[in-house]
């Protein structure tokens, strides 16, 4: 049985359609990523599954329970981290864990919960006194107090520095290893690639692709990205029309050609250089990322 089944889910806010007839299933024990730019409908989708926002249309089942019919039963078996994680200012970290457990009528071993998210030394501090990364870990601890079957993380690493982000990735991987189903949203492709078994790419309220990271790369037909610096008389969009190129990023004389055929693209680029039209510097060929897939699928970048 799938942990989550969503079919024909739609949410409209007045004239705005935030989520437009999406369907997908998340398998038990899977880490499932919902990836997309801001405003794509990721958060609304999650909140409908969590029972926080009533859908306009469609069906949602979590662990076989219909969310619309029995939201309380679903809430009891899921853990939720919301995008803006704020807590009661005047309570300590330890008190917050006790409080959250009480919301499920549970008593938990606070020390162990805090140790799991490396916040043992912060037990007596208030949430205000924590760093961004510590606060997100507290938020995850609060989402785990009921030992949930499914954990929802809404942009868990947004706004964190690279070190804190890596720490959080480790924590999420630990949770994943404990067998829980994890659903997370992100607009970092790298994050989705590292953490997720499967990824749904959302843009403009719809799911435009859904596969494993490798599957998405393979299906997109793009193999690699060719990064180079070039100066010369050639028009910039000439690079976009080279053989095999499916997308081009430019940034102050630096270019990145996303290509489905690196051999052909390189040949064409060298041909230009030999003809004297451009002078090439700093040439590098890398494996394509999901970022490139997104660019190819949507024609725009994930983050502006």
């Amino acid at each position: 049985m799938a942990a989550i089944e969503v079919s024909h889910l739609t949410k409209r806010f007045g004239a705005l359609t935030a989520v437009d007839d999406i369907s997908f299933a998340v398998q038990s024990g899977e880490t499932f990523g919902v990836l997309g730019p801001n405003g794509a409908g990721k958060t609304t989708t999650l909140e409908m599954i969590e029972g926080l926002t009533p859908p306009t249309a469609g069906q949602i089942h979590v662990e076989g329970i219909d969310v619309r019919k029995n939201p309380a039963a679903v809430k009891a078996i899921i853990g939720v981290q919301l995008q803006a994680s704020s807590f009661f200012d005047k309570l300590t970290v330890a008190e917050l864990i006790v409080t959250f457990a009480a919301l499920y009528n549970r008593r938990v071993n606070v020390d162990r919960m805090l140790a799991d998210v490396q916040l043992t030394e912060k037990a007596g501090n208030t949430a205000k006194e924590l760093s961004g990364g510590q606060r997100q870990r507290l938020s995850i601890a609060a989402a785990l107090v009921n030992d949930p079957k499914v954990l929802f993380l809404d942009e868990p690493t947004t706004g964190l520095d690279p070190q804190a982000r890596r720490n959080l990735w480790e924590l999420i991987q630990q949770i994943k290893q404990s067998g829980k189903t994890v659903v997370l949203t992100t607009h970092y492709m790298e994050e989705a690639e590292i953490l997720c078994d499967r990824i749904a790419i959302m843009d403009h309220a719809r799911i435009i692709a859904l596969d494993s990271p490798a599957g998405l790369l393979a299906a997109s037909g793009i193999g690699s990205r060719i990064e180079f610096k070039a100066s010369g008389s050639v028009q910039e969009n000439t690079f976009g029309q080279l053989a095999g190129v499916v997308g081009l990023e430019r940034n102050n004389g630096s270019f990145c050609a996303i290509t489905s055929d690196s051999q052909a693209t390189l040949d064409a680029l060298f041909a230009l250089a030999r003809g004297g039209a451009v002078k090439l510097e700093e040439l590098a060929v890398r494996r394509a990322t999901l970022e490139d897939v997104f660019l190819k699928l949507t024609g725009h970048q994930l983050r502006e």
């Binding site: 926080l52 005047k90 008190e95 919301l103």
Partner: protein, 365 residues
């Protein structure tokens, strides 16, 4: 039940740890109580008299002794120049310049002169001093002439319990403190919880909103009782007030009063668009009640239209009920008007809060 218990305990902790809330809950009303209490508006009238003497002879000294022994006078002795400047500064009702040989043996035709300087700007005080002195002169003259009084006045005082100002003030301050605490703490805290998304986070758990609201209400009812009994105790210890009526009836009044203002607090937090507008709206509602609600003075002396409005304010019912129980020992039937008034208000406010207050913003689905 465990959930409600923990939520109540933590909401109590949060309240006590919030310095601002503690200030307005306890310190601020206490300040009012002490300042107005010690101003002592009902101290007996005292006339400050400047007495200028030099080396009075024995009869004159006896006369001065009589002046000094009068309760109504507060005597300041000094040089004429100093006392006159004190009079000029408004610190004396009169200055008496007494010659050393004021009382000379009877039979002398020309009486000596005692000069009484008074403040023309204070005719009432001057009149009082002069008429008391006149009586004293008459009495002394009669005594000197060995004449008998034609009749005597026998005073018989009937003891009437005179309400002291502190007895009026204390129930008013308690009502004010409970109102301020209930309205502001709820309105402010819930607006913040909503704005910061804390309520939404709570809604992602199986907790029902009623549990969270109940925990917050229980906390504030407990705090209202703490306020009431703390201020009663302070009144008892520092101002020798007493509670004539039943404590259980006082408790009923405090609970009814809190419920009204908690309802108002939830309503204000619901109608405030932002957290910043909460104190503005709350003050708009609360301030007029502070002046019209029989807290510091009775609204019955106000213009008829204000007094008419004041009669039906929830704070008026609340303060009057507390006052009647505390000072008059009123029972349920004597304050039935206030109790009915408070009940109607609490039903109305709780109803309004239920209609307006939402845990989550309503979404147009």
């Amino acid at each position: 039940m465990y959930c409600l218990y923990v939520l109540t305990v933590v909401s109590m902790k949060m309240f006590v740890r919030n310095r601002q809330a503690m200030f307005f809950t306890l310190f601020f009303p206490l300040l009012f109580l002490l300042i107005f209490g010690y101003m002592n508006f009902d101290a007996p009238l005292r006339l400050h008299i400047g007495l200028v003497t030099h080396h009075p002879d024995a009869p004159t000294d006896r006369f001065l002794g009589q002046i000094r022994s009068m309760d109504v006078f507060r005597i300041h002795q000094g040089a004429l120049k100093d006392e006159l400047s004190a009079l000029g500064a408004g610190n004396r009702a009169a200055v008496l310049d007494v010659p050393d040989d004021l009382l000379t043996p009877a039979g002398r035709s020309d009486p000596k002169t005692l000069t009484a300087y008074t403040n023309a700007a204070e005719p009432t005080a001057s009149q009082a001093v002069l008429s008391i002195l006149d009586q004293l002169v008459d009495k002394t003259s009669l005594a000197a002439a060995h004449a008998r009084s034609l009749f005597v006045i026998q005073p018989k005082s009937v003891s009437v319990h005179q309400t002291r100002y502190i007895e009026f003030l204390l129930p008013g301050v308690i009502a004010m403190a409970v109102m301020q605490m209930s309205v502001f703490s709820v309105a402010h805290v819930f607006a913040i919880y909503k704005e910061k998304g804390i309520l939404k986070r709570l809604m992602a758990t199986p907790m029902r909103p009623i549990q969270f609201v109940s925990a917050n209400i229980i906390t504030r009812l407990i705090i209202a009782m703490v306020q009431t009994f703390l201020f009663l105790w302070i009144g008892l210890r520092m101002f020798h007030t007493h509670v004539a009526g039943a404590y259980w009836l006082l408790t009923v009044c405090v609970i009814l009063g809190s419920v009204i203002f908690l309802g108002l607090g939830f309503t204000i937090s619901a109608v405030s668009k932002t957290n910043e507008s909460v104190p503005v709206i709350a003050n708009l509602v609360v301030m007029p009640m502070l002046f019209l609600g029989n807290v510091f003075f009775s609204a019955s002396n106000m213009p008829a239209i204000l007094a008419g409005v004041a009669k039906y304010l929830p704070l008026t019912f609340f303060a009057d009920a507390l006052r009647a129980v505390m000072t008059e020992g009123a029972g349920v039937w004597s304050i039935v008007r206030q109790l009915v008034g408070m009940t109607v208000w609490s039903v109305a406010m709780v109803g309004l809060a239920t209609v307006t207050f939402r845990f989550q913003e309503r979404q147009n689905a």
